[in-house]
């Protein structure tokens, strides 16, 4: 069966967007993605939304569809934390493959920076901790990832400098993207000197808090022929869920991204080594290191030294997070993961001016929700 196709992709401005609203950012991204596909909103027959912190609603996809003035025959919200964007893509692919929809709009957006205080954002995220067995101890999302980081460093000889190298590599990439929130250069020393958040993680080991929205259109293979730009095929998808709370994680070093990526590579009929460009969830520096090694892009303990030697650069072994990722491009809730998808589409279309990976034909996108709890992987390819 021919693969589902990403026919449109767009993101809004990102960073501190005074006066922006969650609904407005979602609508703006949605309209831009539909325009990018060369479609009209009237042709959208499926809508998949995510969630919003600043304008929470029980039926977000219905709210967004109403605001856009469309009446899709299929419309639901999907929630899987940071893995939501990739999860939405997996659902959209299934909807067009089954024939239920022809063009599915997949949209995320939140004004998490200007719509709530930083303290409120941190507090809201900490509520994902276990109510009885984690939150009474003062756990936060950074602290949970810090527990992973400390154990991972212990088992595989990862150093603070290796973590800092991840932050520096992302900043280097973000500096090539005109829209990135953080474009000032940083050094390993800057990361080392940034204030401790939850040891061993320092401020520059942690993702940003941003306003922004992003959307894509996923079309059935036959419907994709009517669209404006060369389609990007969804060649393989995978998912794995091993736990939710860190207290229940079966391992602190081996995560579900191993199985979810293996499924996606298998369905696409490729190997990890075939990937030309990767956009992988980077909520913290340790998140990316653990994922790169669990997936198998690097051997255990080898990603850190390789990244310090430029492995994630545009001409490195694995060009990765070419827009700057959650660490330096932007992170506005579910849209954070969708920025990875949008960047992969741009790279595979050859549209990433100033940061284009040469001859990028196969892309890998990965989302992680919770504390490395839920994983969704996508293999994308130029048609």
């Amino acid at each position: 069966m021919p693969s589902p196709v990403i026919t449109g992709a767009a993101d809004t401005e990102v960073g501190k967007l005074e006066g922006s609203t969650s609904l407005g950012l979602q609508a703006q991204a949605a309209m831009a993605a539909v325009e990018d596909a060369g479609l009209s909103l009237a042709e959208i027959d499926g809508v998949l939304c995510a969630y919003s912190f600043t304008e929470p609603h029980l039926m977000l996809s219905s709210v967004v569809s109403e605001f856009l003035g469309i009446a899709p025959s299929y419309s639901v919200a999907v929630q899987a934390g940071g893995a939501t964007a990739c999860a939405q893509l997996v659902h959209a692919a299934a909807l067009v493959e089954s024939g239920r929809c022809r063009h599915v709009l997949v949209v995320c957006g939140d004004n998490r920076l200007t719509g709530m205080t930083r303290d409120r954002a941190v507090a809201a995220l900490s509520e994902v901790g276990h109510a009885q067995f984690e939150r009474p101890y003062g756990i936060s999302v950074p602290s949970a990832y810090a527990l992973v980081a400390r154990r991972y460093m212990h088992e595989y000889g990862v150093t603070l400098e290796h973590l800092a190298g991840v932050a520096v590599a992302h900043r280097k990439n973000a500096m090539r993207h005109p829209k990135a929130q953080m474009r000032e250069p940083i050094t390993l020393e800057d990361v080392a000197r940034s204030r401790p958040i939850s040891t061993p993680l320092r401020l520059l080991d942690c993702c940003l808090i941003s306003d922004g929205g992003a959307a894509v259109v996923v079309s059935a293979a036959d419907a994709a022929r009517d669209t404006r730009k060369p389609g990007i095929a969804i060649l393989g998808t995978g998912q794995m869920n091993t736990h939710e709370h860190i207290v229940a994680a079966p391992s602190f070093t081996d995560f579900g991204c191993k199985q979810s990526s293996a499924q996606a590579f298998g369905r696409a009929g490729i190997k990890a080594a075939d990937i030309d460009v990767a956009e992988i969830y980077d909520s913290f520096t340790i998140t990316l290191l653990a994922e790169l090694e669990s997936i198998g892009f690097f051997g255990r303990g080898e990603a850190g030294p390789a990244i310090l030697s430029g492995a994630l650069d545009l001409d490195g072994k694995l060009p990765c997070n070419t827009h700057g990722g959650l660490l330096s491009y932007a992170h506005s809730g579910a849209a954070g993961g969708m920025f990875h998808v949008v960047e992969a589409v741009r790279q595979l279309r050859g549209e990433a001016a100033g940061r284009q990976v040469a001859n990028a034909r196969l892309g890998f996108v990965h989302g992680d929700g919770g504390i490395l709890s839920v994983h969704f992987s996508l293999v994308l390819g130029r048609l």
Partner: protein, 135 residues
């Protein structure tokens, strides 16, 4: 906003009642012997619903730890910096606790700890299991 306190439910009440008696209790599967924490309705290994409770030794080792400098909510700010540790209990399961009375610079993975109970913050509350280094 006050600190989140444990509010037991039907599944966790035996655990918190045990804490009131100075016991840290684990669930033990009567079908396969698997020990687990936090409490659930079924065995996470064989999915049998026949679960009993056993008193843990109260000893374990530091599996991982972090010193927190950025509190999740205002109520934890007076405690900064504080240590959150993942403790691997002698019986196998892991549990999160604060590691009290330890110098953050001198903690290492593998150090031996013991559980003690901090008195409830409010009347009618439950003692919170915490960890301290063994001599």
């Amino acid at each position: 906003m006050t600190k989140p306190l444990p509010h037991p439910n039907a599944t966790t009440q035996p655990f918190w009642s045990g804490c009131q008696q100075g016991r840290f209790e684990l669930q033990r599967c009567e079908a396969c012997g698997h020990m687990q924490f936090p409490p659930r309705l079924a065995c996470t290994s064989c999915h049998s619903g026949a679960l009993g409770w056993v008193n843990a030794s109260g000893r374990g080792t530091v599996y991982s730890f972090t010193t927190v400098y950025r509190a999740p909510i205002e109520a934890f700010k007076p405690d900064l910096p504080y240590i959150i540790a993942m403790i691997e209990l002698e019986e196998g399961p892991r549990a999160m606790m604060n590691l009290r009375g330890a110098d953050p610079e001198r903690i290492a993975i593998g150090m031996e700890v013991e559980i003690f109970f901090e008195p409830p913050a409010a009347d009618g509350g439950y003692p919170l299991p915490q960890a301290r280094l063994r001599s």
